[in-house]
């Protein structure tokens, strides 16, 4: 089979294309992982609250719960916070005299263990069972991969083509 003389160039183009696709796949994999975590954490939370409400036979007082979505700012107790608020409460400005951390609600749910430890690879067999039960069937293999900490290898082909 004769190859066109520019085959080396074509190989290089393909190599670039291959790298690009690998990058996109990696990015989409972590996106998928995050969405799976969100789904599991949210469903777990809803289930937990449903059980608590059923067993106590009443919803918790409305002033003791915070509905999603929300954001948390976490700082030292000693931090002085200077806050200006517009009259209509549409605008806020906070000044801190010390460092702070911002967490979204999903991060909070993860820290509460609602993602079954999947986010940190600390998922027990029992956790994994729960997690798998909370996603559609097509996603179950991914949940297992995440529990084993190996999802990032799922798609990356084993042997890079050498030059």
């Amino acid at each position: 089979i004769g190859l066109p003389t520019n085959s080396a160039q074509e190989c290089n183009n393909l190599e670039v294309e291959r790298q690009r696709r690998l990058e996109r796949i990696k990015q989409k994999q972590s996106q998928l992982q995050e969405l799976i975590l969100q789904q599991i954490a949210f469903k777990n939370l809803v289930q937990r609250n449903r059980q608590i409400e059923q067993s106590s036979n009443r919803p918790p007082p409305s002033n003791s719960v915070i509905h999603l979505p929300f954001i948390i700012v976490n700082t030292s107790k000693k931090t002085v916070i200077d806050c200006s608020i517009s009259n209509d409460k549409f605008e806020y400005l906070f000044n801190f005299d010390n460092t702070f951390e911002i967490h979204d609600d999903i991060e909070v749910l993860k820290r509460m263990g609602m993602a079954c430890g999947l986010e940190s690879g600390t998922c027990s067999a029992e956790d994994l069972k729960t997690a798998r039960s909370l996603v559609p069937k097509a996603l179950e293999p991914y949940v297992t991969e995440m529990a084993q900490g190996s999802i990032s290898n799922v798609y990356v082909s084993s042997n890079p083509v050498s030059n």
Partner: protein
């Protein structure tokens, strides 16, 4: 040699093809996941039950050392955090309604 580069070429073609179908598979899963999550959060029961308690919040940070501020803002609210080298500042701007901010109490009153 020509034979070598020909086989390398073929390998690359195959791999690109394989990666393409894997990416398509991922796209489908991403689409499914996004739709699921959207439906889930729009469901009235899960909207009703999608909450954390003050106790939950206290459990994620040591209440004797940390202070937690809760921000509840309407969709599309903009949050800007300054460069920490210049200032320790957060600004919030909403266009669709007032923003609620409160501190998570560290006592056990259970009231936020």
């Amino acid at each position: 040699s020509t034979v070598e580069s020909s086989s390398r070429y073929q390998m690359l073609v195959n791999e690109c093809q394989e990666l393409l179908s894997k990416e398509q598979q991922l796209d489908e899963l991403l689409h499914m996941c996004t739709t699921q999550l959207k439906l889930l959060t729009e469901e009235s029961e899960s909207q009703h039950l999608g909450y954390v308690t003050c106790q939950d919040l206290r459990s994620i940070a040591d209440p004797s050392e940390r202070m937690l501020m809760v921000i509840k803002a309407p969709p599309e609210t903009q949050m800007q955090v300054s460069d920490p080298n210049e200032a320790l500042q957060i600004s919030l701007k909403s266009t669709r309604g007032p923003i609620d901010v409160f501190l998570c109490p560290d006592d056990s009153s259970g009231v936020c």
